[in-house]
């Protein structure tokens, strides 16, 4: 029996994969996952989708059932916040003063929502959306005929709008930029999502300067700088996240827009790995350092981190991908579009609900946003993963087989 002890801080996507990966990789010592939330790791993406829409039960969200961890000898220490890492003593400290010794440590602390400093932000009925607990509280305010204002027109804001519309609420989305999804997609794709949301009855206001959230006992509305006032029984703020680096920082690990890790998911202390939303890491496909907020990255990085702790080093080389479900739209994104200078469209985004937008930087295909086009999504995933190039003319030509566009 080994007296090694791998301790994982944070109990979500990365932690679930890391702990399973440790056992698969032959780790014989103890494994503990310490998480602030009260339930075992669960799928976060459905929170703004099926779960908020009421189409999924909480039990169905678990990544693996609690019995799995028992069977694998993985201790879940839930509802426990880690307050300090003592690197010299190789211990972590919990909020209740408890201490847990480690021989190897993994940080999968994810991200915290970015808080908006705004008058009325503390009113009853104003929420952020990150955890299961948030959605359970939000659901008390959801119902037909009630109204909701969503501050932030990113993926989570738009998914939330779709889920609330499904339940017959009056929904307004306030976006500070000139278009929704501005930081992540091309104008064509933003225009598409604005159109569909309008068709579904969502009121989208861009260039919106939110001045205050108003109300008495509870929230009553949101006022804008131009004098507009929108009534609301529920306000959900989705203006991005910041990586949860506070423990790493206090422990003296290198932090720069996330916990800095090398290609093997090691932090500046090689007994400590990190994976998921909390990391700042190098991606060889795009030849730059990235911080990603995606299940793909949490999972792929956690696999490597587990390997590293088991002594099997494998360098990170994963293609980023992501998805977002709204109404009948299945958006699948492969690659990273940042830095694109040209977009090639396949299909009709102006009137239809199925198209793909291919992003190029010079001659190089960078990414695809595929709406109800799994084939285009999978083709690009494969092509970028294998370093293939793409012919823009064939991509744009609907009569040509998509697979023929890559070589």
């Amino acid at each position: 029996m080994s007296d090694e002890h791998a301790v994982i801080i944070g109990a979500s996507h990365a932690a679930a994969q890391l702990s399973a990966g440790l056992r698969q990789g032959g780790w014989e010592g103890r494994i503990s996952i310490v998480g602030a939330e009260a339930i075992p790791p669960y799928h976060r993406p459905p929170l703004s989708k099926d779960y908020l829409a009421g189409d999924k039960h909480a039990d169905e969200l678990l990544i693996r059932p609690a019995t799995y961890y028992e069977q694998q000898g993985i201790d879940l220490v839930l509802g426990s916040r880690v307050t300090r890492i003592d690197r010299a003593g190789k211990e972590i400290e919990l909020h209740d003063g408890g201490r847990i010794p480690y021989s190897k440590l993994a940080l999968t602390t994810g991200a915290h929502v970015r808080k908006l400093d705004i008058a009325g932000g503390e009113l009853d009925g104003v929420f952020y959306l990150r955890d299961l607990n948030d959605v359970d509280r939000i659901r008390a305010y959801v119902g037909p005929g009630k109204s909701a204002v969503i501050i932030g027109g990113g993926y989570i804001g738009l998914e939330t709008a779709a889920s609330l519309r499904k339940q017959d609420m009056a929904v307004t989305v306030l976006e500070a930029m000139p278009r929704v999804l501005q930081r992540v997609t091309a104008p064509e794709v933003s225009a598409f999502y604005s159109r569909v949301h309008a068709e579904e009855g969502v009121n989208i206001i861009t260039d919106a300067q939110v001045q205050a959230i108003e109300g008495g006992a509870g929230v009553e509305g949101v006022s804008l700088a131009d004098g507009t006032r929108i009534a609301a029984d529920l306000v959900i703020i989705g203006v991005g996240v910041i990586p949860a680096t506070e423990l790493a920082e206090a422990a003296g690990l290198e932090v720069n827009n996330g916990i800095v890790v090398d290609e093997y998911a090691r932090t500046s202390d090689h007994d400590i790995v990190a994976a998921g939303d909390c990391t700042f890491h190098y991606n060889p496909i795009y030849d730059r350092h990235l911080r990603l907020e995606s299940v793909q990255n949490a999972t792929d990085q956690a696999k490597l981190a587990a390997g590293t702790l088991c002594g099997k080093l494998e360098a990170y080389n994963a293609l980023p991908w992501f998805w977002s479900d709204q109404y009948d739209l299945k958006l699948q994104i492969a690659g990273l579009s940042q830095g694109f200078d040209r977009v090639v469209m396949r299909g009709d985004s102006e009137t239809g609900r199925s198209f793909a937008a291919f992003y190029f930087g010079g001659d190089r295909l960078l990414a695809v946003d595929a709406v109800n086009r799994p084939k285009e999504f999978m083709s690009v995933r494969r092509a970028l993963g294998q370093g293939q190039s793409a012919d823009p003319a064939l991509l744009a030509d609907e009569s040509a087989d998509i697979k023929a566009a890559f070589s």
Partner: protein
């Protein structure tokens, strides 16, 4: 509770019992059956939950919808009985289902 038998690429068999309404992907993942990755958690977005439905059961599991079909086109070693396991819900009519697992997902 319906049972599902997974047969790994190396021939190893695992039989699990699941509540009716569980999908085949969860039947594997929840019981520690390796060979199914399920990176997207059943959103039909990753194609890492590929499996082969035993020929004797193919009629009863039905056929893939358009999205699943398009995703399947890219799995390793596509066969006529290929399916994405997250898209098959186990109910009492599938009690005893036999599922073969591929050598690799990606």
């Amino acid at each position: 509770m319906p049972s599902v038998k997974f047969i790994a690429h190396d021939g190893q068999e695992t039989e699990v019992h699941v509540a009716a309404g569980t999908n085949v992907m969860h039947a594997a993942v929840d019981n520690g059956v390796s060979g199914i990755l399920a990176d997207c958690g059943g959103a039909c977005s990753c194609a890492t939950c590929h499996c082969y439905i035993d020929e004797a059961w193919q009629d009863r599991t039905g056929s893939p919808d358009d999205v699943e079909e398009q995703m399947l086109d890219f799995v390793m070693e596509l066969k006529p009985n290929s399916r994405l396991s997250c898209q098959i819900v186990v109910d009492d009519s599938l009690d005893g289902l036999v599922v073969h697992l591929p050598e690799k997902q990606i």
